[in-house]
């Protein structure tokens, strides 16, 4: 059973989301309508996923994210943002949010996002020991990096196809938001798993290949 906490100052959005999540057998959803309340309930209970609006009075989504990452580092945070504030959402992802969705969003957007987030959480849980025990700090970072299913799948398809352009990765994984993909690819690039050639095509580096071998050995892909 996964515990999901919804935080939004619009109660109707909260109830609608709760209803949507509770249709799934293994989801248990609760909601609060302010950042302060969220901090309070999180003191008493652990959550797997926190879905929070970015723009809230007093304690904002960003404040909440900082607190969650400090107090419940295992909880994954998904940001809800108004269109046009994508920059803030990307900022949130840099600070540890795992995904973001833009308001007004569609049913499929939120479902896909939660599915991905839980997959990532599962991955992290499964390899928790490995992540914690990784003596080399860099290895730990890399493992965290590829815990995200978009990054992991992108890495694997680039590996399978030798070289891929941004557009072909985007099409293969059906990611409609190029900003999101661009963010994830940059993450892969900064940890040295992929690189770009002269024609800006992505390819897997020897380091990336090693990681794929490890993932294969663990049956993670």
């Amino acid at each position: 059973m996964y515990n999901i906490l919804i935080v939004d100052d619009d109660e109707e959005i909260c109830t609608t989301l709760k209803e949507i999540f509770e249709e799934e057998e293994d989801y248990q959803a609760e909601y609060v309508t302010s950042g302060e309340e969220a901090l309070k309930v999180m003191n008493e209970k652990n959550y797997d996923v926190v879905i929070s609006d970015l723009m809230m009075p007093k304690v904002s989504g960003m404040d909440l994210l900082t607190s969650v990452k400090r107090n419940q580092p295992d909880a994954e945070v998904v940001m809800i943002t108004a269109f046009g504030s994508v920059e803030n959402a990307v900022e949130a992802m840099k600070k540890g949010a795992v995904d973001y969705i833009e308001k007004p969003f569609k049913l499929s957007d939120i479902r896909t996002s939660i599915k991905r987030v839980l997959e990532e959480a599962k991955f992290k849980k499964k390899y928790k020991v490995m992540l914690e025990e990784a003596k080399d700090e860099e290895v730990g970072k890399i493992l965290k990096n590829i815990a995200n299913p978009i990054r992991r799948n992108a890495l694997y398809s680039i590996y399978n196809q030798d070289k891929m352009s941004f557009t072909s990765i985007k099409n293969e994984h059906q990611i409609s938001d190029p900003t999101k993909l661009s963010f994830h690819l940059r993450q892969l690039k900064s940890s040295g798993l992929v690189a770009q050639d002269g024609s800006r095509k992505y390819y897997v580096t020897p380091k990336g290949e090693k990681i794929i071998d490890i993932l294969k050995a663990f049956g993670a892909i």
């Binding site: 959005i13 990307v90 190029p178």
Partner: protein
């Protein structure tokens, strides 16, 4: 020189007068030597008519000399005046700050003053080459031939590209009234244009900012109810999967909600404070990804020539600009056509041109095209905000966006962006 000329007239007159006196002297001198003084008087009477004619020379020739002197001196005065006039005209022609040039009957460059030479590198040959739009020359010549003069704004080819000028043209006739040449006076009005342009852009930015703030506020407020309506409708559609009638109605609601959502998104785009995540972008990749999000109709041929240009900009916002402009171009070509996307670098700036071969727009529309909610499309197609959004984003990148259109030929949007928006240029206005 003029003194010499005056003397020349006098000498010729004196010379002519002397000829009569000399003839008389020689004639009567001979007769005196031949006949002697006594018979001279007798002989004079004998051949009286002839002698009278000879004698009259002593009056006629000086008279002729006098008239000649007067005439020659007058002519010299005229010549001198003409010379002075020519000198003055040429002085004015050369020193005046307005570029002036003449084209002969075959439209070849005949003469150009100093100001002209400073502005244009063109020196000889086909005058048409001076014009940014060669057709302009024929339009001007037509008008001058019909009405004698022409006044208007014309773009000429300067050393560094087209220069807007205010042009006055007239024809020059020869003594028989035939056409000799055309005189063009072309005042460089780039500075005025730039000022006017800046004023226009500042006005546009202010207008956008005020409307944008209002629109953004509204959009924020309606975003939440829209999200709830959208999610609930989708959920109902799932629940009543088998009920086609109900699903049809729900689909209708969803369609309208989606449209309202699109408008809210666009409204937010024009008001957001534009926090930018500036990155080094590959233009070609950006254009490609913009095209990927759009459905390009089969009848529209897309030509991309952007080379290997890189620019520093916010990826999301820049893609949005391209999507909006390309969409606008596609919608302008319902019967199909060509979409040309070109880009080049100039003086540290990146210039991107998006041109369609569609129906084109009028001058009045050109002036309003970046206004929020202004649209020439039917109600329901587009939000009327796409170009306002593009304008806001480009302004916030310290760039400028311009539109040029010709009815029936198509429309071209030109984006001029500093290679790095962080290095601000005074030419570009900042949205505050």
């Amino acid at each position: 020189m003029s003194v010499g000329k005056k003397k020349r007239g006098n000498y010729i007159g004196l010379g002519v007068a002397s000829v009569g006196i000399l003839i008389d002297l020689f004639y009567f001198g001979f007769e005196y030597i031949e006949l002697g003084g006594g018979k001279m008087a007798e002989h004079f009477i004998e051949e009286l008519p002839e002698h009278l004619v000879i004698s009259s020379m002593i009056i006629l020739f000086p008279l002729l000399g006098y008239i000649l002197t007067l005439h020659l001196n007058q002519r010299d005065i005229y010549e001198r005046q003409l010379e002075e006039q020519t000198e003055l005209t040429s002085g004015i022609f050369q020193t005046v700050g307005v570029p002036i040039f003449t084209l002969n009957r075959d439209y070849r460059l005949e003469d150009m003053n100093k100001s002209g030479k400073e502005l244009f590198s063109f020196r000889e040959g086909d005058g048409q080459k001076l014009f940014s739009h060669p057709q302009d020359l024929w339009d001007i010549v037509d008008r001058v031939n019909k009405e004698g003069t022409y006044e208007g704004e014309v773009y000429l080819q300067g050393r560094e590209g087209p220069i807007p000028t205010h042009m006055s043209v007239r024809s020059l006739k020869d003594s028989r009234g035939g056409l000799k040449a055309y005189i063009f006076a072309a005042r460089n009005i780039s500075a005025e244009k730039e000022k006017e342009d800046l004023k226009k852009r500042m006005f546009q930015a202010e207008k956008l900012a005020s409307v944008g703030d209002l629109a953004g506020g509204i959009a924020h407020e309606i975003n939440n109810p829209l999200t709830t309506v959208s999610l609930t409708t989708e959920k109902l559609m799932e629940e009543y999967y088998g009920d086609d009638r109900l699903r049809g109605k729900l689909q209708k609601i969803k369609g309208k909600v989606d449209r309202a959502s699109d408008i809210a998104r666009e409204m937010l785009s024009i008001c957001q404070p534009y926090k930018q995540d500036i990155d080094n972008l590959q233009l070609e990749e950006l254009v490609q990804s913009a095209l990927d999000t759009l459905e390009v109709p089969e009848g529209v041929k897309v030509n991309i020539d952007v080379g290997e240009i890189e620019l520093m900009a916010d990826e999301v916002q820049m893609r949005r600009v391209l999507i909006n402009l390309i969409l606008n171009s596609i919608q302008a070509m319902p019967e199909g056509g060509e979409l040309n996307i070109n880009a080049w670098k100039m003086d540290g700036k990146v210039i991107i041109e998006i041109a369609d071969t569609g129906e084109g727009i009028s001058r009045e529309v050109e002036d309003k095209i970046f206004d929020p909610f202004f649209s020439t499309r039917e109600v329901g197609i587009g939000t009327g905000l796409g170009l306002s959004v593009a304008h806001s984003i480009i302004s916030s990148h310290h760039g400028k966006i311009e539109v040029e259109s010709e009815r029936g030929k198509g429309t071209t949007f030109t984006l001029t962006l500093p290679f790095n928006p962080k290095e601000k240029s005074h030419l570009y206005i900042t949205k505050t």
